[in-house]
C-alpha cells in the first residue's frame, strides 16, 4: 500500500492499454511511453503489463507503508528518497514509512514509477489503464489526488534486486527529435509538394499536446482537394491533417475513429521519443519503408529480452553507483540509512 502525498501535475495508473474494445469506440489508453514503462516493470521484476504510475512534467510524492522494491524510468524528475537523490532508470528499495518525491522533469516529459507487484486497481475491460475522458479504469477513472491510497498487487515474476540500468539501454531525450513515418492510409489525398514539405519541414510541438495527441506547428501541408474523409479507424501514431494543414499525431488516448485524412503514421518504436517531448520541442519526419519499420519493431523487442537477461545476470551484485538502503529502527522510529561505496 502507498499513499499519494502530492499527485504532481497529472499522474495516472497505466498498463499496456485496453486492447480489444476499439470496435465499441473504447480508446486503448495505456502507458504513452511504452519503452520506459516496460523497462520500469523489468527493473521492478514485474510481469509485462503490470500497472505503473505515469507522471507528467511534474512528478508526485509517495509514502510507502511497507518496504518494497520500486523502479523509476523515463523523464528525469530528480527523484529523491527521504531527501537523498536516487538515480533514474534504476530499481531500489523504499523502506517502510519512506517518502519518494519527484520534482519537475529536467529531461523528458513522462516518468514511470513501477512498484514490485504492480499497482492493484480493479481491471475494467481487462485493463487497469486510466482513461480520464470517460472516467474508466485506474483509480475511479481519474488522475491521482492527494491522500489517495493505492494497493500493490502480485504481478511480480522475477527475483531482482536494486540496480541501475546499463547505460546502453538509457535513451537520451533531446529537444530535437526525428520520427520515422510510414505513409498511408490517405497519403494519396496530399499533393507531392505537400508530402515533400512534410518530410523536409521542421515542426514545433504546440501547447495542445496531451495523452490524446500532439498538435504541431510548422509548414502547412496542402490536400489535393478536401481534408475530410468518411470516418475510419485511427491507429496508434496516426498523423491526421485537418483542413488547416498542420499535423496532429494521435497517441494513447486517441479516439478510435476520425474524419480527417491521415498522411501516415509514426512507427510505434519511435513513439517513445514523442511521448518524452514537450511543447516547444522540434520534430522532423523521416520517410521509411515497411521492411525497415518491422526491423525497428524487432530491435525494440530484442532490447527488452536483452535487458531482462542483463538484470538477471546482475542479480546479486547490484551496481556500484546505486546506493543501498537499509531500514533501521531506533527507539521505535524507522530510519532509512543509505550506504554508498566511497571510491
Amino acid at each position: 500500500m502507498f499513499t499519494i502525498i502530492n499527485p504532481g501535475f497529472f499522474s495516472t495508473v497505466q498498463d499496456e492499454g485496453r486492447w480489444g474494445y476499439q470496435v465499441y469506440g473504447m480508446p486503448v489508453a495505456g502507458a504513452i511511453d511504452r519503452y520506459a514503462y516496460n523497462v520500469a516493470n523489468l527493473l521492478a521484476g514485474n510481469q509485462p503489463g503490470a500497472a505503473a504510475i505515469e507522471m507528467t512534467m511534474l512528478g508526485g510524492t509517495f509514502r510507502f507503508n511497507d518496504s518494497r522494491l520500486v523502479a523509476i524510468c523515463g523523464a528525469d524528475m530528480q527523484a529523491a528518497l527521504d531527501g537523498a537523490v536516487v538515480p533514474n532508470w534504476s530499481a531500489f528499495t523504499v523502506p517502510a514509512g519512506s517518502e519518494l518525491a519527484f520534482g519537475y522533469a529536467v529531461s523528458g516529459c513522462r516518468a514511470y514509477l513501477a512498484v514490485q507487484g504492480g499497482v492493484d486497481v480493479p481491471r475494467v475491460l481487462n485493463s487497469r489503464s486510466t482513461y480520464t475522458r470517460a472516467a474508466v479504469g485506474g483509480l475511479q477513472g481519474r488522475a491521482l489526488l492527494k491522500d489517495d491510497v493505492l494497493n500493490v498487487g502480485q504481478d511480480n515474476e522475477a527475483d531482482v534486486t536494486a540496480q541501475v540500468l546499463a547505460a546502453q539501454y538509457v535513451p537520451s531525450y533531446g529537444e530535437n527529435i526525428s520520427l520515422r513515418v510510414l505513409l498511408g492510409p490517405q497519403d494519396d489525398m496530399f499533393t507531392a509538394d505537400a508530402i515533400q514539405t512534410f518530410f523536409t519541414g521542421e515542426y514545433t510541438i504546440s501547447n495542445e499536446a496531451d495523452r490524446m495527441g500532439y498538435r504541431l506547428e510548422g509548414p502547412k501541408i496542402t490536400h489535393v482537394a478536401k481534408a475530410d474523409i468518411v470516418s475510419d479507424a485511427l491507429c496508434l501514431g496516426a498523423i491526421q491533417v485537418p483542413a488547416h494543414g498542420v499535423p496532429i499525431i494521435m497517441l494513447a488516448d486517441r479516439q478510435t475513429t476520425g474524419g480527417y485524412a491521415k498522411i501516415g503514421a509514426v512507427i510505434s518504436p519511435d513513439l517513445t521519443k514523442l511521448a518524452q517531448a514537450k511543447p516547444g520541442d522540434r520534430v522532423r519526419f523521416q520517410k521509411i519503408e515497411d521492411r525497415e519499420a518491422v526491423a525497428a519493431l524487432r530491435e525494440e523487442r530484442e532490447a527488452y529480452l536483452s535487458i531482462r537477461k542483463s538484470l538477471q545476470g546482475n542479480i546479486t551484485t547490484g551496481n556500484a553507483t546505486a546506493a543501498r538502503l537499509y531500514n533501521v529502527t531506533v527507539n521505535g522510529t524507522v530510519y532509512s540509512v543509505e550506504v554508498k561505496e566511497i571510491l
Binding site: 470496435v23 469506440g25 498511408g184 468518411v230 475510419d232 479507424a233 496508434l236
Partner: protein
C-alpha cells in the same frame, strides 16, 4: 469478385478498404470480413476495428509478414460468394431505445421541426418510424454512427457546438442521427434523451449494442423515462431486443 485496397496504418496496422461511400452494401462487406478474420487465430491478429467502409487490422508484424496477411485476406475474399448479393443480409438484432422527446431533454426539437416545415410531432413520428443500422461505433465509448434516417428531418449542426451535452442526449446532425453515451461536447441538434446507458463499464455486458445491429427509437413519456432510469440505475433494466429478418 470483391475488390479492396490494402493500405498502411503504421507497421502493425493494415487497412482493408472496400470503398469511400457510406452504404449498407459496403458496410456489410466490412462486417463480413471482420467476422471471418475474428475466427482466424493463425494470422497474429491483435484487434480488428470495422468502420463505415474499411477495417483496421492490428497484427503482430514480427509474427507474420504484411504480405502473408494480405495474401490470406485476399484468399478469404476470393472464396466468398454471397456477401454482395441479398442473401448475405443475415438477420440482425434490433435494440429498442426509449426516448423522451422535446422539452428540456430536446431543446432543438422545435428548431428541427421549423427547419423542415413540419410539426414537432411529425419529427418524432419520422424519427421513430424505422430501425437504423449501426454502421460503426467511435468518437466516445459506445457512440453509434447510424444510417437510414429520413431526409425529411435532416438538419445542419449547430453553428456553435455545446460545451457539455448530457449523457443519453439524442440528436440530429445533417442526415445522421445518434445519441451520446457519455457526457461530451458536441454540435448536434438535440431532440430528446434516453434513460438507458449505451456504455456501462461495471456491467457484465458493458456495451448495449455492436456495429451491425439496428437501433429503433421509441417515444416515451417523462414518467416512463424516470421509471426506466431508476431500473437502469438499479441494474435491472433489460432492453427490448427483436430480430430483423433480412433477405
Amino acid at each position: 469478385m470483391m475488390e479492396a485496397k490494402f493500405l498502411h496504418a503504421g507497421e502493425q496496422g493494415l487497412v482493408v478498404e472496400f470503398g469511400a461511400d457510406i452504404s449498407n452494401e459496403t458496410n456489410a462487406k466490412v462486417h463480413w470480413l471482420a467476422k471471418e478474420l475474428a475466427q482466424r487465430s493463425d494470422l497474429a491478429i491483435r484487434e480488428i476495428i470495422p468502420t463505415y467502409r474499411s477495417l483496421l487490422v492490428y497484427f503482430d508484424a514480427v509474427e507474420i509478414s504484411r504480405e502473408h496477411l494480405c495474401h490470406a485476406i485476399k484468399k478469404i475474399m476470393a472464396e466468398e460468394r454471397g456477401v454482395q448479393g441479398g442473401q448475405a443480409q443475415r438477420s440482425a438484432k434490433v435494440i429498442h431505445i426509449p426516448v423522451c422527446y422535446g422539452g428540456e431533454f430536446g431543446p432543438d426539437l422545435v428548431f428541427v421541426a421549423e427547419h423542415n416545415d413540419i410539426s414537432p410531432e411529425e419529427v418524432i413520428r419520422i424519427h421513430t418510424s424505422t430501425p437504423y443500422l449501426v454502421f460503426m461505433l467511435g468518437f466516445t465509448p459506445g457512440f453509434p454512427y447510424l444510417g437510414g434516417m429520413s431526409d425529411k428531418i435532416a438538419t445542419p449542426r449547430l453553428d456553435k457546438p455545446r460545451v457539455r451535452i448530457p449523457a443519453g442526449s439524442v440528436g440530429i446532425a445533417g442526415s445522421q442521427t445518434g445519441f451520446y453515451p457519455i457526457e461530451s461536447p458536441g454540435g448536434w441538434q438535440l431532440i430528446g434523451r434516453t434513460p438507458i446507458k449505451a456504455f456501462h463499464a461495471e456491467s457484465a455486458h458493458p456495451f448495449l449494442f455492436a456495429a451491425g445491429d439496428y437501433l429503433q427509437f421509441k417515444s416515451v413519456s417523462m414518467e416512463a423515462f424516470q421509471e426506466i432510469r431508476a431500473q437502469v440505475d438499479a441494474g435491472s433494466y433489460i432492453p427490448e431486443v427483436t430480430m430483423l429478418q433480412g433477405g
